[in-house]
């Protein structure tokens, strides 16, 4: 039974890798060409490829009856932060970057964040999606906070 569960986890992991390998390869080429001779349209295509990868990942979760694993969430956050940092540094340090690329790149990143928010809201509902980040509320938990009209938290 344990072997079966390990196999199922591995199968899902390989499927997620397959999805991101395909989407990532396309996105990489489009970003490379977009930042080179291509321009804004190709950058938008790159972000579309990343969004397609994310949407496919969500579909994989739905089909396999799972959610994002902690490692996947961590990797996603690190990638997003790295992209933000790169955007800020490039805007400050690379001459002409902000005029040509700031709008499409920041727009693409905002679209990615919106996609994540939309996924969380559709999966958990607005309140639970917000409560995932509401760590302060758990710091000084009262018994009354578990009452249904106070949110029903344990």
């Amino acid at each position: 039974m344990q072997v079966d569960q390990t196999e199922d986890k591995l199968d899902r992991h390989a499927l997620v890798v397959a999805v991101w390998l395909a989407a990532g390869a396309i996105a990489l080429v489009l970003f490379h060409f977009g930042f080179g001779a291509g321009g804004r349209g190709w950058l938008a295509g790159g972000f579309a490829a990343v969004l397609a990868g994310f949407a496919s990942h969500v579909i994989v979760n739905a089909v396999t009856g799972t959610g994002f694993t902690p490692r996947e969430v961590a990797l996603g956050l690190v990638a997003m932060l790295a992209a933000l940092l790169a955007l800020v540094l490039a805007t400050l340090l690379v001459v002409g970057f902000s005029a040509q690329f700031f709008l499409p790149v920041s727009g693409g990143l905002i679209c990615l964040v919106l996609a994540v928010v939309l996924t969380m809201v559709t999966r958990h509902g607005p309140r639970r999606a917000f409560e995932v980040f509401d760590v302060i509320r758990d710091n000084n938990r009262r018994a009354a906070s578990a009452l249904p009209h106070r949110g029903g938290r344990k």
Binding site: V3, D4, T6, E7, L10, D11, H13, A14, L15, V17, A18, V19, L21, A22, A23, A25, I26, L28, V29, H32, F33, G36, A37, G38
Partner: protein, 621 residues
Amino acid sequence: MTGLLLTLLALPVALSVYLATMVARSQTPAAFTDGGARLPGWAVIFGSGGVVLSGIDLPAHLALVGRYGLQASHLALGLIPAALALILVQKRLWLAARIAGTQSAGEALASYYGSVTLRLVMLTLAALFALPFAAQLLGGAGDFLAALTANAVPRGVAIWVLAFALFLPAVIGGWRGVVLAVAVQSLMLAVLTAASTGFAEATLSAAGYLQQGMTLSDGILSDRIPGVIQYSAGIGKEPVQGGIFTTLALLSSALAFMGLLLSPAMLYLGMTARAGRNLAFATVWGIAGVVVGLLVLLAPFLAARMQGGATGLVAGLAGVDQLAAASLAVLFLALRLVATAFFVTSGTLLVVRELVLPFVLPNLDARGGRLTARIALAVAFALVAAIATFSPLGAAVFASLALPMAAQMFPALLGLAFVRWISRSAVLTGLILGFLAVFFTEPPGLILFEGLFLDLPWGRWPLTIHSAAWGLVLNVGAVLLVSIFTRQGAERQARDLLHDEFAAHWRTDFGGRAARAAKWSLVLIWAFLAIGPGAILGNSFFSQPVFTEGDAALGVPSLWVWQLLFWLAGVPLVWWLAYRSGLGLTTDVGIRTLRLPATVQAQERQAPDWIAASLARVTER
């Protein structure tokens, strides 16, 4: 670009090794050769499509389209009847594996017909795919890599390094590891093929297919099928006017594609899949949908830009973007390597499972079996690399036999799946005649006979009919004729055991009389119009409509529209059989086991005396 190309090429290799390592950690030694017969559905779906795309050797197919135009591109529609043939037999084979404990197509046929010969035939076919067929693909990849790097990576080095890269995931993760790696790369192949075509069309300045069509040699019809049949003695004997792909060539080539889909490796993939909708999804959407769609839609675009060969297209793209060019080069390489890895691994594991472990080393435990399989994999990959390096011509000559010979197994498989009156002697007689016909209408037989005796009056594919069809005509004729006299033979009871079980619990629902008639007649009508003699109508059906005086200005060739139309019509046909008739739907629930008389149980396995004596002479000194 060499550095970038090699870095990109290392990524999928590293990923495959990583996946295989994860598999090796989680699976038991006994599951090394069959993945525990629980391969995930998505891997079977992606893997089937990827292996077909890779097995037809897409770069070679594109070169053919570049040489013969849309008549060669029309070949892709032949994958739809091949998918129909696969869906007809796949579920019953899957069931036979669970009911009778037969783990592969060779074992199922051997147990069902009570014939050791059939087991050996299937193993020979597996070896044909695993050695010359795979060596030809690997050699092509080596040639391409050497040409791309301007011989910075010589051909021989490229072949051995690539073979080692394919060997690693196989030896670490076994069957499951390779299937997962193949599946992961297959999705990448499909997406990259579509994206690279779009990228080339959008960025390259030279006129593409829509602007100027394809430039072909004089006398070749670029956007028309050159007739229903051409009375030619065959390739190598006399040239064919207008091109070789007549409608009969297309129809008979579809039978050769059937050989790819009914190859021992593809059947093994299906038999080791989990229960569910995998087989239906793989056949309908993976093969008939995506693969045929990619080929019909995109092949003309890519072929039109490959007049200078695949390296020319990569070089052209490198002028626009280095990374895009390197990705395209990786795509062309992976298109050959996926099938190489798949066929070498499956062929080796089949030989180990069906020949070495039961008959040569029957007393090995699971760990010993795994070690045996690993040693066999090392030998097989080394052999393939050696053949590809030192005998590329020999590999090409013998590889030509793989598809048409595998297609000859269709009557035997159909007998196991549905037709209980097909007897062992009928199958064997048919196979002998079919193999002979294939052998003497393909290069090996022609070279051998003409070298030893005298010139034959025919060449390869006489009358523009593929060798697979010559073989199947004789094969099916012999099966029908011999079955008339032997259908009630002594082994009939053994065959009835399995068919009675199918009839009692696994009846196929082809629908009522009308639905049944509609299904088969629609398939025949589709075949006649799409790849049969009716396809000739497509030459001008949309450009010179029959009820008007003038020509229609479509902007694209009429034959291309015809191909797209019959691709779209073909997918629902496969869907109808796979889903509505349930031929692609499997379940674990309610399976009863039974023992076929000729099945050799694990505890009864023993080495034949002559093998045991030979081994003893070596090991007991």
